[in-house]
Structure formats: structure tokens, C-alpha cells
Symmetry: C2
Subunit: 374 residues, 2 copies
């Protein structure tokens, strides 16, 4: 494990040089600090909160600012509400630096700054699609961005040398570069993140109103559908507020789709009703099929379900034996039966591995509760 | 593993005796057959499709019917569309038998039979909450119902001895008995299953219309929210049609919640707008919190994120070492970074185990990418 990571680290010498200034020492800012420092880049940290700043520095995410700092690249990693203000201040305070930000909405800060008449030649918005359930400098990790998409929003004014700096930042922290316009980006995150959040929250809101008995019938489906509804209200108020137009447009499209199917749901015996419902479900099938799978490909795996006792070491034995069988686990989902002392492990493997995995496990005494290739 | 299962099997001697007739040899019917036969119960299978019936018998789910069969219990496990017809036919053909069904909607078949003037004293509806992504007799498993809720809908006419038969069926296949009225049941599954299905399908429908580039920003959130949108249209047309009233009522409640929050999303700077959005997200938080956790309790676990190379045996080593550390894995989610050759394993453990698990894994060279108790 560590060998291959070391080898990868040696291949990836830092593309950035000089000093990078990171404004905002929360989860994203401090994680960028850790990742760049691991590459030997000089990182200066700033934060409106002295205690947050102190914490991030204590944890090794960077150093405090000095009078003579001359950063070439500034990364603004502050809450959405204050992103535009901080970008403006940093552009003014560092007239030779390129400024980027990591906010999850890209058009609003850009438009706001343009409305203020700011020269945005040296500003290049970006958005790393990374995060964790907990925020703050103490949750920061050098590997937060590894393998994650990092969107960079250039425009016609962007100078190639400036763009290269922002791209070097994304590559240095291990992210996968994607180029989009701010409009493309904001519509994409409305679709893949913001609207799913609203939908999950509203659906989970109905669970809040339900009687206790109903909830005992909840299975994995509703759990998955509402998982992200556990997200923090404070952050989402800002995100949704900053990306209101694309979010509302998509919610309207959803409401339209609902209105198309509602009469059919209301009167299932009416002519054409079954077809309308089937069409809606089938279109959902198509949408799910389009989501990129593992390694960015639409690879399909076979799944087998193994019964696992709920005691320490059982999963270890299972995965150890899969390793002995030469079977690579591509994906895994554990499902627990309410009241039962064991779980079901749904294990995805390459189609070519399925038969051997099942036979090998059964020989070793495991109970296979099913597979997708029966 | 096998020791404890054997012990459990010995404790659970069959409660049913005599012959059980199962009508419909698909996934549920054939699984009931397998589970009952494993307890030594005589199972007669019937199916409108001779090839499906032959297959289920070949796989050992039961035997063919004979002239002199005198079943005490009949289980109707046919598609929702024909459930009422088959219940009626079985009640008529077997005047001494108790008839139950396993359809996922309970009020509609009951009302339909009452409209036809059928005496329903010997009919007791039930619904095992179990299923698999693939259907058919070949996907059937004796352990499909173990630890799953099995709802039984008695009414004031139900005779105790008849109820005992249906309860014995549920207990013999290893399910957890729940008693509800048909109305309670149908509202509960509308909330926990049918409406999440509609919402996931409609949301995933927007993905079907999206451009390819947008979908590259899709993360685990939208994947979870839309996972069940991959379900089969044919089945869901029947289920939604049979439970139209509670589904439409909940969809209306959802639309109402959306209309409350929509103006706030549309005009995020308006007075009260932020609070309206925050309230909707917070109510979603509350709903998710109410979903029962593992073992039917609302236990909370701590989660740590471990980096795992994408090669055979790595997960085995990880779980083996967790077993050595005495740490029981309560839940697990594997996340793959697009383009990266490793994954992140989110592992849930009892709060008391977290610190020791992290320290032990780090001593053994694992990279911990975060935990919920920082």
C-alpha cells in the first residue's frame, strides 16, 4: 500500500513553486494547505477567526502571514456568503497575484464582482468536488482532493500563465481537472448536487411528520434516498441561495414531470395511465444508467450477497478469503436486518470473478444469499 | 459462523405442520417454499406458468400439487394485478384453508374482494418486506426473509387459530412479525417505499435529459438519492396503481412543502427566505434521524475513512486487522474516486471502539482519511 503511494508521490513533483496564500482555514483551505505542504510548497494561511487559523497552523496546514510575503497564487476558501468580498480584497491587496476560489457556486461571485466594477482578469474561479461530513481545520486532510473532479472556469480574459497556476494547484493536490464555463458548472451542480439535496430534504421532511410505526417498514431504499438530507442547514442556505436560478429551473422541471405523472397516479385505471407511470419510471432507469461508475467508466459489476455474522473479525475473514481467491472487491454494501445478529454483505466483483468467488466462498463455509447472475 | 447458525436453526423448529400451498413460484413464493422445506414443512407449489413452476420444483422449492392435497395454509404470491383473483379462487377451491398473500399493497385486494361479496373470514393479508434486484424462481433463497419485517393485517373477523397459522409462517421463515391494519400498512409503505420510488425516478429522469459533461460532477449524493430509480417499471406500475390514494396524498404533501420553500429559493434575498430554506433542510435532518438504524434501534456509530488500494486482498487485510483489534464493523460504505486506483472505505464502529481502531490501523500503516469524532 505505502509502496505504491510513495511511487505515485515521486512521480508527482510539485508543479507550483513560490508561495501560495490560502484565505480561509476551514476544511477545504486547510486541506489544500496540507496537500501543498506535502509537495514542499510554501503555504501562508489566513482566517477571520484567529482560533481557527491557530488550529490549522498547529496541525501543519501552513504558516502565518509575514509582511514580505509575495504570493503568486491566492486560494479563497471562505463560506459562500463572503466569497465575493474576500476575492475583491485579495485582488486589491496583492496586485501581482492570481486569485482563485473553491466555492461550490461559480456564477454569482463572478457577477457580483463584475457589478462592482472589479477587473477580474486575475481571477479564475474553480471548484473542487470534495468534502466531508464534518468541517473545520481539524477535519482537514492532505488527501481530500485525490481523484476528485476539480472544475476550473476560465474566460476569454484569462491569461494562459495564470490559468496554468490554478491548474497546477488542482494537479498538485491530486485532483482531476475539468474545464467548464461558470454557467455550465452551476447548472451541473444544480443537477448533481443542489436539487438532489432539496429533494432529499423535502422527502425526509415527510419522515419527520410520520408516526413511529410506519418507520419500522423503512428499508435501504428510503435510507439511500434521504441520506444527504442529514446535511447542515447553515451551509445549504448559502449554497442554494447562491445558485437559485438553476436550482429553481430544475425544481420547476421536476414539478412539471410530477404534474405529467400525477393524473396517472391519481386514476391508475384511466386510459394511458399505466403507460405514463411506466414512462416516468423508465426515464428514471435511463438517468441512473448514465451516472458515471467507478473509475469514471460505466463499468458494470456482478453482485453477490454473503451472510456475515455480526461479530468482530467475520468481515475480515471474508475479505481475507476473497483476497486468497484473487477476487478484487469493486464495491460493497452492508445491510443489517433489524433485530438479527448478522448482516448481508452485497459484494460487487468483475463479472469474470463472480463464479469463482461464489464457489470459493461456499467451499470455505460461507452462505451466499444470492447473486445477480443466477 | 456455521456453529451459531446451526444453534439458531435448532432453536427454531417449524411451527407449521401439514401442507402449505404456495401459489406463484416467483422470487417470494419460491423463497417461502425453500424456507419452509428447510424446516421440514410439506410445500405444494402452483404457478400459471408451467416452466416457472417446473424450475421452482427443480430447484427444490416444493413439489407439484396432487388430487388429495389438503393444505391448511395457502400463500398467494402472484403479481399485484392478479392477487385478488387468485385469493378468490383459492378461498373457493380450498374451503377449509386459511389464505394469505404477500402483495406489497394490502387495502386494494381486500376492498376488491369485499366488493365482490366474498366471505373474507379465512383471508388474512400479509406483506413480507423482502426482495432482491432480480426476480424469478431462480433468484429464490431460503434466507430471503430472515430478520425482515413481515406485516400481518388481521381484522375483527379473524379467528385466532387462523392468525396463528399466518404468524407461524412468518416466524418459520425467520421474519419479524408486525401487526398493522391494511390502512396503516399502505400508508407506511407509501411513505417508506412508494413515494421514495416516485421521487427517485422523477429526479433520475432529469439525469436522463442532462448533457454528458454535467454528469461528470456526480458524486455519492446523487447516486444514493437515485439508486432505487433503477427499479423495474412493470412492477412499479402495478404497485403504485394499487396504492394510488396514499401515494398521491404524500406526493401532494411533498408538493405543498415544495411550494412553501420555492419562493424562498426563487428570491433568496427576500425577508424570511433564508429561514424558510433552513427550516426545510432542518426538518429533513429530523426525518433522517428518525429512520431506524441497525438492529431496529436508533444507535449511532462513529465513522472513520480509510484509504484502500484497489487491489485484491487489501480490504481483507483491513478487516482482518480490525478483527485482531477486536473492532466490530457496524456498517461500511466504499467510495471510489473517478480515475483513482484506490477507494475510501467509510467504516462505522461503536463510539467506544473508534479511538482504538484508528490508532491500531495507523500503527499498521493504514492511512486514515478522517473520522466523525475529530
Amino acid at each position: 500500500m505505502s509502496d505504491s503511494h510513495d511511487a505515485r508521490a515521486r512521480q508527482n513533483a510539485a508543479r507550483l513553486s513560490g508561495t501560495v496564500r490560502v484565505v480561509g482555514a476551514g476544511l477545504l483551505g486547510a486541506s489544500i494547505g496540507h496537500a501543498l505542504r506535502a509537495k514542499g510548497v510554501d503555504v501562508v494561511l489566513a482566517d477571520a477567526s484567529p482560533s481557527q487559523l491557530r488550529l490549522a497552523i498547529d496541525y501543519g496546514a501552513g504558516r502565518a502571514a509575514r509582511e514580505d510575503d509575495a504570493p503568486r497564487l491566492i486560494v479563497v476558501a471562505v463560506p459562500p456568503d463572503v466569497t465575493a468580498d474576500v476575492i475583491e480584497a485579495e485582488l486589491a491587496a496583492h496586485p501581482d497575484a492570481v486569485v482563485t476560489d473553491v466555492a461550490s457556486v461559480k456564477l454569482e461571485p463572478f457577477d457580483e464582482l463584475r457589478r462592482r466594477g472589479i477587473d477580474l482578469t486575475r481571477y479564475i474561479g474553480s471548484h473542487p468536488l470534495a468534502g466531508r461530513e464534518r468541517g473545520g481545520a481539524i477535519s482537514a486532510r492532505a488527501d481530500l482532493f485525490i481523484g476528485r473532479p476539480w472544475v476550473v472556469c476560465r474566460d476569454e480574459q484569462t491569461r494562459p500563465a495564470d490559468l496554468a497556476l490554478v491548474e497546477a494547484l488542482a494537479l498538485d493536490v491530486g485532483a482531476l481537472l475539468l474545464e467548464m464555463t461558470p454557467q455550465e458548472h452551476d447548472r451541473a451542480v444544480a443537477l448533481t448536487s443542489h436539487v438532489p439535496q432539496v429533494v432529499a430534504s423535502l422527502l425526509a421532511g415527510r419522515l419527520a411528520e410520520a408516526d413511529e410505526g410506519s418507520l419500522r417498514l423503512a428499508g435501504q431504499g428510503v435510507r439511500d434516498t434521504t441520506r444527504i438530507a442529514a446535511s447542515a442547514p447553515e451551509l445549504w442556505v448559502q449554497i442554494l441561495g447562491a445558485n437559485a436560478a438553476p436550482v429553481v429551473e430544475l425544481l420547476d422541471a421536476l414539478a412539471g414531470a410530477r404534474r405529467e405523472v400525477a393524473p396517472a397516479l391519481r386514476a391508475p385505471a384511466a386510459p394511458g395511465a399505466r403507460r405514463a407511470v411506466a414512462d416516468a419510471i423508465r426515464q428514471g432507469n435511463e438517468g441512473v444508467e448514465r451516472l458515471p461508475g467507478k473509475h469514471g467508466q460505466n463499468r458494470r459489476f456482478e453482485t453477490m450477497v454473503v451472510m456475515v455474522d455480526d461479530t468482530p473479525g467475520q468481515l475480515g475473514r471474508l475479505f481475507g478469503e476473497l483476497g486468497e481467491l484473487g477476487v478484487n472487491v469493486e464495491d460493497l454494501r452492508l445491510e443489517h436486518s433489524p433485530g438479527a445478529q448478522f448482516g448481508l454483505a452485497e459484494i460487487s466483483v468483475a463479472p469474470a470473478s463472480l463464479r469463482g468467488a461464489i464457489e470459493g466462498l461456499e467451499e470455505r463455509g460461507w452462505r451466499i444469499a444470492g447473486n445477480t447472475n443466477d
